[in-house]
């Protein structure tokens, strides 16, 4: 079996329909060697479908996948030479850690002495030396996940696929494993496609992100691009723009739009094709909202009067939920705690209030 590496893996119009339902449609993506790509989206968005299509566990119904100059979408999974880490770990329960890791090498007919060395190295890489002879059932969730990773990387695959590998772990372990996976990716020079529904995970680990929704690609870009310039309000929503305010455009001047939000107006940055008096959705991140002393100090003339109703302590900062007079809910991150129940003025820079057309396919 060839595990030849490639310079680039290309997905061309990859799609998958189940019955009449389009689980994935028209995915175009070029993965360069050594890249860490995250497929991001809510559950049911098609990200796992995409991963399984790349792995070969699901046949494509549309498009093709090319690795280097070799078309791979017609190959069965065992001939593609990719490694995969599963959400449920999927360890062979009847085999010890060593033999789980050695399984793929046996399948490839690697000579025994070489097998032994590579298994040893892989187990050392995930720091499980003292558990090598245990059965998976005797390990904790985090340890099982390490075994699953060792089993995937021992084959030195040209591409590693990870399907929400951290979602069954608790919060602290998740942070550790994040760093661990990133470290392995870098030190082994792997090419990785990583599926997750956790935007923080994706932003912190990946070189580039693919945001999916209802089987369709919403945006592809670096973490900074997605974070600062989401392509539509769905991506914005997913990137932590927790304030999504519906209103009407009253005026457009260059790339600044004035939006009527009922009891007040807001100046925002045009982030999509807009027409005057169009229905729009303004997306603002909680940490871009600032408390000011008075309406006169408001930045870019954006003054929002609201009454804090919930103030939560989050360590370095406070998470504040404030309600405007006509009931709009504003999520704010503040360095100092505003007084609960006492009206305050909030402001946001116009370029950090992104104005998106409301209608989306």
């Amino acid at each position: 079996m060839s595990t030849s590496t490639f310079e680039a893996l290309e997905l061309r119009g990859v799609g998958r329909t189940f019955g009449g339902h389009e689980a994935l449609k028209g995915l175009d993506l070029t993965v360069r060697r050594g890249e860490f790509i995250a497929l991001l989206g809510p559950s049911g968005c098609g990200k796992s479908t995409a991963l399984n299509c790349i792995a070969g566990l699901l046949p494509l119904t549309h498009g093709e996948i090319v690795a280097g100059d070799r078309r791979v979408d017609t190959l069965p999974p065992e001939k593609r030479g990719f490694g995969m880490v599963f959400q449920s770990y999927a360890l062979f329960p009847h085999l010890t850690v060593e033999r789980n890791v050695a399984f793929g090498l046996q399948m490839q007919g690697v000579p025994r002495h070489e097998q032994k060395q590579r298994v040893k190295d892989a187990i050392a890489m995930v720091k499980l030396e003292e558990h090598a002879t245990k059965l998976p059932g005797q390990l904790s969730g985090g340890q099982q996940q390490r075994v699953a990773i060792a089993r995937a990387i021992v084959l030195e695959p040209s591409l590693v696929l990870m399907d929400e590998p951290l979602s069954n772990l608790d919060a602290k372990l998740r942070l550790d494993m994040r760093a661990e996976i990133r470290r392995l990716h870098q030190s082994l020079g792997l090419t990785t496609i990583y599926v997750t529904h956790d935007q923080e995970e994706a932003l912190s680990m990946a070189d580039r992100l693919v945001v999916l929704r209802d089987g369709r690609t919403q945006q592809i870009g670096t973490p900074a691009e997605l974070y600062d310039h989401p392509a539509n309000w769905h991506v914005a929503d997913f990137m932590g723009y927790r304030n999504l305010l519906d209103g009407t455009v009253t005026q457009i001047a260059g790339d600044t739009a004035t939006v009527n939000l009922g009891s007040f107006e807001l100046h925002g940055h045009v982030a999509g094709p807009l027409a005057a008096s169009a229905r729009v959705r303004v997306a603002i991140r909680p940490d871009d909202v600032v408390v000011t002393a008075s309406a006169a100090d408001a930045i870019d003339g954006n003054a929002i009067k609201a009454t804090p109703s919930v103030v939560e302590y989050h360590g370095r900062e406070f998470s504040v939920t404030a309600l405007t007079d006509d009931g709009l809910r504003l999520n704010v991150k503040a360095a100092t705690a505003p007084v609960q129940g006492e009206p305050a003025t909030f402001t946001v820079r116009a370029e950090r209030a992104l104005v998106f057309p409301e209608e989306l396919a």
């Binding site: 079996m1 030479g81 995969m84 329960p93 399948m107």
Partner: protein, 296 residues
Amino acid sequence: MATTVAAPRRRKQNLVPGDKAIVASPSAWFVWFGMAAFLILLIGILSTVVVDSFGRQWFANWLPQEWTASWYGQGWERFDLGHVITVTVLVAVVVVVVSVLIGTPAAYLLARKNFPGKKAINLLFLLPVIIPPITFGIPLATLMYSWGLGRTVLAVILVNLVPSVPFVILTMTPFIEQINPAIESAAKMCGASILKVFTKVLAPLLVPGILAAAILVLVRTVGMFELTFLVSGPQSDTLVVSIYRAMTSAGGSEARQLVSAMAVLYTGTMLVILIAALRFVNPTQLVARVRDNPDD
């Protein structure tokens, strides 16, 4: 036995927290009485047959007047029990092996895939288990005779396969459903071909299920009377059929003690088979471990 378990009679409001009385006393007594009656009947049946098989003559007394082991020797010769037991074991082993070989792949498919007509096929495999053996046994036996297979060991094996294969499918399907399909995907991603997935990953995981199904089929086949009786003859009778024939043989049945001796042999054979089979069942349920992944 009852005194150690049944809670002393108490009024409901007197029950302290943690009191173990799930069933209140009057009904508990009723349950224990029923169970005792059942046990007395059971032990009575078992011990009378054993006692009878060792008695020379036993009519109107509590115990036989004289003891002897000669009925076993007589029965062995008279009914050629060596041959009968050989046939019984042969039939049982062949039926178990063939039904596991045919049934397991089908069970795998039914557990893992959806396809048009799956419901109809499930029903087809369920029917031989739920409809009376006589219902399909009589047409089947008629065919066996017209194919010239009547009274052969082959016919006995074939008719016993009819309920056994579906039985394997029914017992194995839930076993296979318990195995996380991601494990098979993982094996494929490690480069294992379909054949290797089956032999290296699935087969070891299925061993407990296969053994459970095999034991059940074994017990059913050795005990199966109706189907075997319809097609077997002197050279292909299994033990249970040959005892029945001894009990009902025309022109005055055989001596009662002779039948008792054979019945004891039958139960002995069954017990030996069961104990031997249970020795091979690994109590550690590999399958259960897959599901019990600690979430922490």
